[in-house]
């Protein structure tokens, strides 16, 4: 139990609020996490109308416009972090600036069992 876990923090925002949090603030948040050694990777995403969905069915690739599901809040970015447990992950996620405007889904990473 002494080892740390990875959590993916998925940032969801309503499209019209995408720019409600200045980029500089998000960049500073990422830099702070990196200096504390909790950040593995973080990126912001282009708006959802640039998204393409790819599926493979019966060996054939199908490509469609847009995301799989229409929801009010859309995926706007992510932070892949390290934490010792969910409480620590929640503390880190609560400091992600868009948490004030949208929401952050905290998902534990599942290690593959090859």
């Amino acid at each position: 139990m002494g080892t740390s876990m990875k959590y993916l923090c998925l940032v969801y925002m309503e499209p019209q609020k995408l720019h409600a949090v200045p980029d500089s603030e998000c960049a500073a948040c990422g830099a702070g996490m990196r200096s504390r050694g909790v950040l593995i990777a973080a990126e912001a995403l282009q708006p959802v109308d640039t998204a393409t969905t790819v599926r493979v069915r019966n060996g054939r690739v199908s490509v469609t416009d847009g995301p799989f599901a229409e929801t009010k809040e859309q995926l706007a970015g992510f932070y892949l972090i390290e934490a010792k447990d969910l409480n620590e992950a929640i503390q880190t996620a609560a400091k992600i600036p868009p948490a004030r405007e949208g929401s952050v889904e905290v998902r534990p990473v599942r290690e593959l069992n090859p």
């Binding site: 139990m1 002494g2 876990m5 010792k84 447990d85 969910l86 409480n87 534990p108």
Partner: protein
């Protein structure tokens, strides 16, 4: 060593220890093993071993320590066996090493284990209904079937809820710990909410399987008592007081034929004086801390009722004042409604009715049956029979509980032609 104990006596001892200590042993085993399911299995193995060994070797001096140590040993044994069969990988040995060196016997951490268990079952990352189910299962030791019956939920649904919650605790790694001081108020609120929901589940419903539902309220009171023992925070005392004071009226709340009786018409000789005494003492302690909240104030209101010899002789001014304090914490329309009813008792029905009409005019509580029932009652007292009938009928249309429906029908009939 009472090695000569007859077998029957030892079996009785094991049962008694199971009742008094199985939840404590489980709480410690979860910490040592880091897993709810492994701990439950270890608990059962430990009690099975007790049934075998205690008749031969005598009951140990500290049965609880014996059970923890035996359960832990059995779990490690099972892990090793599984590792040998290749089901576990290298990680298995590391886990075993951690358990081997754990300082489990430290009295303070053992007492904290029960709090760890409560806070983990009521972790806000778990769905509210899962928090309730898990708390009743793990902390109170109720069976899945008992919880399902009490909450009128199919047993498989409830079992699934518990399995999913345990899965989340494991996979998302919800820590097994008492929250830090800084998080305590919020986390304690979550625990108190679970206990109060359990209590209300048993208290509010009075049709059908009345007996089982009563057991649920009793379980909530037991849980509240445990929490006050472990963590004597003012609001924990306030909640326990609130539950005791409400529960003290149980015998007076319904007639022999199961009909609902309003507070002001209850036979106060039927109120449970022991529960009232304990409730009032707890309210006083919580109030004097000056760190109290919503539960304590509600308990204080219930205490004023409990001390009054009759509805008319109640200190309504005090109750209105307490509702004002309550509104300061939580400006909800339901509290405003209750304050209006108290105000009607202090200043007369017209004053209370004016406030209720204002709340309803705002559109708040338009579908809340008790708002219409309260309005009807005040109209009746003012002799506005037609208005009273209209509001009683509106309340009747909104109610889903059988005893409440019969109560409202009697009220309407009582208005006369």
């Amino acid at each position: 060593m009472p090695v000569t104990d007859p077998l029957n006596n030892v079996h009785e001892t094991v049962s008694a220890v199971y009742l008094s200590d199985s939840r404590r042993v489980l709480a410690t085993l979860i910490r040592l093993l880091g897993d709810f399911d492994a701990a439950e299995e270890a608990l059962h193995e430990a009690f099975r071993a007790a049934l075998e060994q205690w008749p031969r070797e005598g009951v140990p001096k500290s049965p609880r320590a014996w059970l923890v140590s035996t359960g832990r040993f059995k779990a490690i044994d099972a892990m090793r066996r599984r590792a040998r069969f290749g089901a576990l990988e290298e990680a298995g040995d590391a886990d075993i090493a951690v358990i081997d060196t754990a300082a489990w016997a430290d009295e303070e951490s053992v007492e904290d284990d029960r709090l760890r268990l409560i806070f983990t079952c009521c972790h806000p990352a778990l769905a509210p209904d899962a928090q309730i189910a898990l708390t009743l299962r793990e902390v109170c030791g109720l069976t899945t079937e008992e919880i399902a019956r009490a909450f009128l939920t199919p047993a498989p649904t409830l079992a699934q809820r518990i399995v999913r919650a345990k899965g989340k605790i494991r996979d998302a790694r919800i820590p097994y710990e008492v929250p830090a001081r800084s998080d305590l108020p919020e986390r304690l609120d979550a625990v108190l909410r679970v206990i109060y929901l359990v209590f209300n589940e048993g208290y509010a419903a009075s049709s059908g399987a009345t007996l089982t539902r009563h057991d649920v309220s009793a379980e909530a009171i037991r849980l509240g008592r445990l929490l006050v023992d472990l963590l004597p925070e003012p609001e924990a005392k306030g909640l326990l007081a609130l539950m005791l004071l409400h529960d003290s009226r149980r015998a007076a709340r319904t007639s022999a034929s199961g009909e609902l009786i309003l507070l002001e018409e209850q036979d106060r000789a039927l109120w449970n004086r022991d529960q009232i005494g304990e409730g009032i003492r707890l309210v006083e302690q919580a109030l004097s801390s000056r760190r109290f909240g919503l539960y304590t104030i509600q308990a204080a209101i219930a205490a004023v009722h409990a001390e009054a010899p009759s509805a008319d002789a109640t200190d309504w001014a005090e109750i209105v004042g307490l509702y004002d304090a309550l509104l300061g914490f939580d400006a909800s329309p339901v509290i405003e409604l209750n304050r209006a009813v108290a105000l009607a008792m202090r200043d007369g029905p017209a004053a209370g009715l004016a406030i209720i009409d204002r709340i309803l005019a705002r559109g708040d509580l338009a579908d809340y049956r008790l708002a219409h029932a309260a309005r009807a009652e005040l109209c009746r007292r003012l002799g506005r029979t037609a208005d009273a009938r209209g509001s009683f009928e509106r309340a009747l249309a909104l109610t889903r509980q059988e005893p409440e429906r019969r109560f409202l029908e009697r009220r309407i009939a009582g208005l006369g032609g």
